[in-house]
């Protein structure tokens, strides 16, 4: 039963990881740019949530929507003003651009908030639900539910709206999309905005579970990479599956082996998948 509890807790956290990675996957799937500043954007969302809920004294959960919108706008502007000029450039130039951006973001957060870890106080932080012998933390359940909802909303957007379909058309065939008169630049900006919005929601939810400090950004970037490659870069269900896998494997290896080994386990999993199924578990070859 103890193991089941750990697995379920890992699974719930994994859904939030999945939402974060979904953002990376969407951006890469459409624009073909690897967002090396992904973790930094996550940390921006976490600080925005922290700041908004400390200043207003409101529940950080209420900040979920405003922070998601804020990150969408940031992502939209970033793609429009900066990244769009580099989409046809070689990989290493895109890498350096996003690395420089990541450095500036982390340094800005460091200047604004200092290096100490921050967290939000929740009066329901220690509440839990009991189902049979299974004990579920309330915050984890809320976070996982929020992440699932966010992913579902994104899926519905791509499936049913005209803009969503247009973006999928761009991803399938950029030149074709241009030929039929789609505004690719705008669609790319919306895509980057949506990717950033996923990170925004994931960041707001993540703050319910962990502290935030400027330097954890790199860890989140790496985590997002592992997850999307496990699931398959560009595959939406793959990102969620990868998130859950990493969440569970972190929880289990942290408990069974030792905490410092938890990311080694994820990396080993990643190496294994890349060697056996390079396109990822749910990716298309």
């Amino acid at each position: 039963m103890l193991y089941l509890n750990i697995i379920v807790a890992g699974l719930l956290t994994g859904l939030v990881y999945g939402l974060m990675a979904l953002g990376l996957s969407v951006i890469f799937g459409v624009i073909r740019v690897v967002n090396f500043a992904h973790g930094e954007m996550m940390v921006v969302a976490m600080y925005a949530t922290y700041l908004a809920s400390t200043v207003t004294g409101l529940d950080p959960l209420l900040m979920l929507v405003p922070v998601t919108v804020l990150l969408f706008l940031l992502g939209y502007a970033l793609q429009r003003l900066l990244i769009n000029r580099y989409i046809a450039r070689p990989d290493h130039e895109q890498f350096l651009l996003l690395l420089a951006l990541a450095t500036v973001i982390t340094a800005s957060l460091l200047m604004g908030f200092g290096p100490d870890a921050r967290n939000v106080q929740l009066d329901y932080a220690y509440d839990s639900y009991q189902i049979g012998g299974l004990l579920l933390d309330k915050v984890r359940v809320i976070a996982a539910a929020g992440a699932t909802l966010g992913a579902a909303a994104l899926w519905a957007f791509f499936r049913f709206t005209r803009t969503g379909k247009a973006i999928r058309a761009c991803a399938d065939n950029q030149i074709g999309a241009q030929v039929v008169g789609l505004d690719v630049k705008r669609l790319y900006a919306i895509t980057f905005g949506l990717g950033a919005a996923c990170v925004g929601a994931a960041g707001a939810l993540m703050l319910l579970l962990v502290d935030v400090e400027p330097y954890i950004a790199t860890d989140y970037t790496l985590l997002a990479f592992i997850i999307v490659i496990l699931g398959g870069l560009g595959s939406m269900p793959g990102a969620l599956l990868g998130g859950v896998l990493v969440g569970v494997s972190e929880a289990l290896s942290g408990f069974v082996i030792e905490p410092s080994f938890k990311s080694a386990f994820s990396f080993a999993l990643l190496i294994l998948v890349l060697l056996v199924r390079p396109q990822g578990l749910l990716g298309r070859a």
């Binding site: 690897v34 890498f95 800005s108 200047m111 390079p278």
Partner: protein
């Protein structure tokens, strides 16, 4: 005949290179210890950048995990020295061999399964991080507590055991950097260099021409890894302490590749120029912000400067500079 004397370089490039070597040889006699230690940092960055440039700049395979080979070279030579008293001149080749095997394995596994492009880049990070965490639990080399070399007597230069002052390391690293420059020049003008460039520009076309793409890419990685590990060996004996979290850090991998990209990826002099620029930039930011007590200001300025360089010269400074000073390569 002239081409032979000048190693195939144009007279102007040869003259500029000669001037650079002369200045670098004389420099330690005119500057203080602090500047020498900064120059050692520059030369490490230049050398690592040149080594990385072979696999990414020449052969076009983006490796983002080169800290792995620095670490393997550093740990192999340091551990053999600490545990068995093996002098670094034997330990460093051992480290190079270990790194070459690791590099070939990673490359062979990836390319065998057609892992390329972004996937390859991320796989190299994954391997580097995985090995970093393993070394954190590897008791024989001190795990997270670190591996320490006996403190050097700075007044006495022990060339056999590499115990000596920063000035000694300066000349060793200058030799390494010039050696790597010569090797890069040689490779680029050999068949293998042309194969690599063909693969970089268009892998399918290279394959169609009958180039053994797989073998060429693995070879580039193995050579790059071995050269990086040699620098790692010197780094171990220069720093005298090794911690997995700093030696194998992803930040080191990023540092290694920033200099060549800023300088000009795939060019001969780009990595060296980039190393000078970036280290100078870092030092300038440090002194600029030394009086100000704001966390993150230095990193912010550094990031903003990087951003400016990528925005203005995305292909690197050297291709722009050589046009400016008339050192364009002959066609």
């Amino acid at each position: 005949m002239r081409g032979v004397f000048l190693l195939g370089l144009s007279p102007r490039v040869a003259a500029a290179l000669g001037l650079f070597v002369a200045v670098m040889l004389a420099l330690p006699f005119f500057v203080n210890d602090y500047i020498v230690s900064v120059l050692v940092v520059v030369l490490f960055a230049a050398y690592f950048g040149q080594s990385w440039n072979i696999v990414t700049g020449f052969a076009g395979q983006l490796s983002l995990g080169h800290a792995l080979y620095v670490g393997l070279g550093a740990y192999t030579s340091a551990a053999l020295f600490v545990h068995f008293g093996l002098p670094p001149w034997l330990g460093m080749p051992a480290g190079m061999a270990v790194a070459a095997v690791a590099g070939s394995l990673i490359a062979a596994l990836s390319f065998r399964f057609r892992v390329g492009g972004v996937y390859f880049a991320l796989l190299t990070i994954a391997f580097a991080e995985f090995i970093r965490i393993l070394f954190g639990h590897f008791k024989w080399v001190g795990a997270t507590e670190g591996l320490f070399l006996p403190v050097a007597n700075l007044a006495h230069q022990d060339l056999l055991r590499l115990r000596g002052s920063p000035r000694m390391f300066y000349y060793f690293l200058l030799a390494l950097t010039l050696g790597a420059l010569g090797l890069s020049h040689l490779l680029l003008n050999r068949r293998i260099g042309y194969y690599w460039q063909a693969i970089r520009e268009d892998e399918e076309a290279a394959q169609a021409l009958g180039i053994n793409v797989f073998r060429c890419k693995v070879l580039a990685m193995a050579l790059s890894a071995a050269l990086t590990a040699l620098g790692g060996g010197f780094l171990a004996f220069y720093d005298n302490n090794l911690y997995p979290d700093t030696v194998f850090a992803i930040g080191r991998s990023v540092e290694i590749i920033t200099a060549p990209i800023i300088g000009g990826l795939g060019t001969l002099f780009g990595p060296i120029l980039g190393a000078f620029l970036l280290t100078t930039l870092g030092e300038a930011m440090t002194s600029l912000t030394s009086g100000v007590e704001i966390d993150g200001l230095k990193q912010w300025l550094y990031g903003a400067a990087l951003l400016a360089i990528v925005a203005l010269q995305p292909a690197g400074i050297w291709p722009w500079l050589r046009r400016l000073i008339g050192l364009e390569p002959r066609r």
